[in-house]
Amino acid sequence: MALLEIRDLVVEFDLPGGRVRAVDGVTFDVGTAEAVGLVGESGCGKTTTALAIMRLLPENGRIAAGSVLFDGEDLVAMKRGPLRRRRWSDLSIIFQGAMNALNPVRRVGDQVAEPILLHEPSVTRKGAWRRVGELFELVGINRDRRRDYPHQFSGGMRQRVMIAMALAIRPRLVIGDEPTTALDVMVQAQILELLERLRAELGLAMILITHDLSVISETCDRAVVMYAGQVAETGTVGELYRRPLHPYTERLMRSVPDIGNVRRLPAGIPGHPPSLVRPPSGCRFHPRCDHAMEVCRRTFPAERTFDPGHRVACHAVGDDGRTRAPSELPLLPSARALADLDPRREMPTLLDGAGAALVGVDGEIEGITAEGRP
């Protein structure tokens, strides 16, 4: 049994325009001391998945189905009281831009001590202060700075404070939601190094959420590639890089420049992620996919497992675990145009029969409508 097991998680939001499924059937595991990356473009449901695991969804959101088993216990079914005790002490989260979440008029040490005092009534004020000192040293801050205020810290140092706070009740799993996105490269490297070291020393399990695949390749064991609220592919970072099965993973991998390797402008991914209010039918990636067939438009591909731990949901992958080349497939007209696309040249406007995908230059897809106009 893995430390964290997420099964068929569905999260819905009530919006003025209707009900939106932001997360639709997400399944993955995180083992003890394992680092798993959650990756995808903005709006693919990465952060929503994290919030659902913590049960910190905003008021208009709810977990509609599925389970989140932590150590075998279902967090989804748990009552608020016990859940609150598990939060921070079993699993905690470092939010995106969290360094701006500190209260500016309180000493940082007191802010880090607060969850300790709340969660462990037996700990005295003095004991908590001492623990904060230890936490600060653990994350690379001089313990004398407990008495400082947030404005006396740089962005990177504030992020360290937030990491110290996330570790305050000695959790076994930490979720980092874009923990380094707003930071300079050198500071980002420091923070990633710190997270890596904490994982090794404390046996922490970690979920790292980012849109940057190279950050995940550097720091994680496995990655879960999400698209439009669903899992496209899961595997070790090595497998996903060397043998990506899903065309989306492949494209995402090739979007990241690899300095010092081949110097070529990446192809990128044509179009942009779909609106979840009216997601595309079938496989949600099909309008942007150069492997798309008629079946992709009609049905969502069943998830299949190839080598242990390498799962993919794509019609273009054969039973032998090989992704067919576009030339071997009966492509949709839109896919044929994408497959023929010379990345240096512009794209014509495309109309694909019934659904009419309108594709602009370099594939900025304009949406799918009956009239062929967005």
């Binding site: 473009e41 903005s42 230890e134 936490l135 040293e137 653990l138 690379g140 801050i141 001089n142 004398d144 990177g156 360290r160 000695r170 300079d184 490269v185 050198m186 500071v187 490297a189 420091q190 190094e193 710190l194 890596e196 070291r197 020393e201 849109h211 940057d212 695949l213 190279s214 950050v215 390749s217 550097e218 970072v237 890089y241 494209r251 995402l252 991998m253 979007s255 990241v256 420049p257 690899d258 300095i259 010092g260 390797n261 110097r263 402008l265 990446p266 192809a267 990128g268 991914i269 942009h272 990345p343 240096r344 512009e346 406007t349 309108l358 602009g360 230059v361 304009e366 106009r373 967005p374």
Partner: protein
């Protein structure tokens, strides 16, 4: 086409209470501290640096937004450092800028056409029909095709990538010779960046414009630039052709930056040289070499003497005493005191981010049973 000679920009910081009491002068922040750089016709030069390096201030100075304290900006040999009025307006027609945030740089209440036509109206160019034609051409060049689909839209109807294309179109509608692009893709998903980068490369190819590409991301710079200039605390510490600079950096700062660039290939996880601490405050630029407080290769001379730019041939320049003899940089010593950790997976390496603090002892948090 554009040449910067010893450009300096200093801001006066507000005096602290103590400084007022003691009657001291306001401290000045040397945001740009003597920059020499050249941008040729049809060339893409990347200006790379971390926040506080002065790269954005340099870019703004080139388009004459913001003050210039000393030095010169030359355009085709003509000094434009202090031009005003009509001359400045004519200059701005030829030198345009686009900003990082496509969500803030567009007016939400104005349609794409109105937005892109505005510079033409300000410059008093053409009549309605001519303006319309130029707007369409600019949209087309920025990749918003077919133009009819985008012309009458409002910013909220556009994706981030499309907004940035509108921003590019408004800069290009004046058909400038120079474009300063300040982090034009850093707000966009990696999957959408290529499209914008391609537009810029096409503009260079078809129109021969020179582009100063400002970024914090060395791998982006390497991808699209002909030459890279690396800035640290207001000064260009190294400049050279992109490929050569990446393959064989001659300044320890460049070398360290390169080592921490993440790679999508897990097999290429490299030996990271993570510098401790953070870039000092630009109001407190260290004496001697400004990088000496963080340099893993620092030696005595660096503490006292600021290195000049050493010409290294092939258009390369480095401001490091170790480049004086023209030899490649030595490897960083594994146990250099200024590096956080020698190897990427050396888990027990101790580190501290507090430059001032002593090596902290790692406190083992006792695991619960």
């Amino acid at each position: 086409m554009i040449e910067l000679r010893g450009l300096r920009v200093a801001f006066a910081r507000r005096r602290s209470f103590g400084e007022v009491v003691r009657g001291q002068l306001a401290p000045s922040v040397r945001a740009v501290d003597g920059v020499d750089l050249e941008l040729r016709r049809g060339e893409i030069v990347a200006l790379v640096g971390e926040s506080g390096s002065g790269k954005t201030t340099t870019g703004r100075a080139i388009v004459r937004l913001g003050p210039i304290s000393a030095g010169q900006i030359l355009m085709e040999g003509r000094d434009v450092t202090a031009i005003r009025g009509v001359d400045l307006r004519a200059y701005r027609r030829r030198v345009q800028i686009i900003f990082q945030d496509p969500y803030e740089s567009l007016d939400p209440r104005r349609s794409v056409t109105d937005q892109v036509a505005e510079p033409l109206i300000v410059q008093g160019i053409g009549n309605r029909a001519e303006r319309r034609e130029r707007v369409d051409r600019a949209l087309e060049e920025a990749g918003l095709r077919p133009v009819a689909l985008y012309r009458d839209r409002y910013p909220h109807e556009l994706s981030g990538g499309q907004r940035q294309r509108v921003a590019i179109a408004s800069a290009m509608v004046l058909e400038p010779d120079v474009l300063v692009a300040d982090e034009p893709v850093s707000m966009l998903d990696v999957s959408l960046r290529s499209g914008i980068l391609r537009v810029m490369m096409d503009l260079r190819e078809q129109r021969g414009i020179g582009i100063l590409f400002i970024t914090h991301d060395l791998s982006l710079a390497w991808l699209i630039a002909d030459r890279i200039a690396v800035m640290y605390l207001g000064r260009i510490v190294e400049v050279g052709p992109a490929e050569i600079l990446v393959r064989d950096p001659r300044h320890p700062y460049t070398k360290a930056l390169l080592s921490v660039m993440p790679s999508p290939d897990p097999a290429r996880r490299r030996k990271r040289a993570i510098l401790r601490g953070e870039t000092p405050d630009p109001s407190l630029i260290p004496a001697g070499c400004r990088f000496h407080t963080r340099c893993p290769l620092v030696f005595d001379r660096c503490h006292v003497e600021d290195p000049p730019d050493f010409e290294l041939g092939e258009g390369r320049r480095s401001a490091c005493w170790l480049a004086e003899g023209g030899e490649p940089l030595p490897d960083f010593p594994a146990e250099a005191p200024r590096l956080a950790s020698a190897s990427a997976h050396h888990a027990s390496a101790k580190m501290t981010a507090d430059a001032a603090s002593a090596e902290p002892s790692l406190v083992e948090l006792d695991r619960r049973p």
